[in-house]
Amino acid sequence: DAGITQSPRHKVTETGTPVTLRCHQTENHRYMYWYRQDPGHGLRLIHYSYGVKDTDKGEVSDGYSVSRSKTEDFLLTLESATSSQTSVYFCAISDFQGRTEAFFGQGTRLTVV
């Protein structure tokens, strides 16, 4: 299995509180991604990073911010959590060196009450 770890794996938080999810990789891959998965929507890209301090928005970035200060860590922050952000969040990594395979973490189940 690719060395990718998400933390926490489960979290319950209250509406209006900030939340940070962490993705840590040991593969030295350049690209890192945050997706959310909801029933009927598949996986939707929130933000992605193509290098240290290089990030860009995905299709559902409102209400989320990211940071990548080191190659191995990609943080996703919900500035002020809302119930609509209840979801399963997946981190993925890729090096795209002539191949498209992205490796996914185990996911973080976030519940906003």
Partner: protein
């Protein structure tokens, strides 16, 4: 923007039969088309990809077909086994920056 859709949200097949999962897309500029498998409680796992300049690629028990004329992608699984039960996603990429997923088809294998 990119759009990826699947034809059927669920598919049931008998063990040993072949399965075909379909996907439609709207963005002709994609470089690669990819299939992922997601088992319950796990993250998606790469199965196979195909470059946009190809129309067929085979792997172990899987074949991906790409029809650029009608913007259609399919995944064929030969001799399905119980371990093939999962949700299957097609995805497309433009370079390395973005990987866009469809909504998924849940494949159930009946004994």
């Amino acid at each position: 923007g990119e759009s990826v859709g699947l034809h059927l949200p669920t598919l049931s097949v008998q063990e040993g039969d072949n399965s075909i999962i379909n996907c439609a897309y709207s963005n002709s500029a994609s470089d690669y088309f990819i299939w992922y498998k997601q088992e319950s409680g796990k993250g998606p796992q790469f199965i196979i990809d195909i470059r946009s300049n190809m129309d067929k690629r085979q792997g172990q028990r899987v074949t991906v077909l790409l029809n650029k004329t009608v913007k259609h992608l399919s995944l064929q699984i030969a001799a399905t086994q119980p371990g093939d039960s999962a949700v299957y996603f097609c995805a497309l990429s433009q370079g390395a920056q973005k990987l866009v997923f469809g909504q998924g088809t849940r494949l159930t294998i009946n004994p």
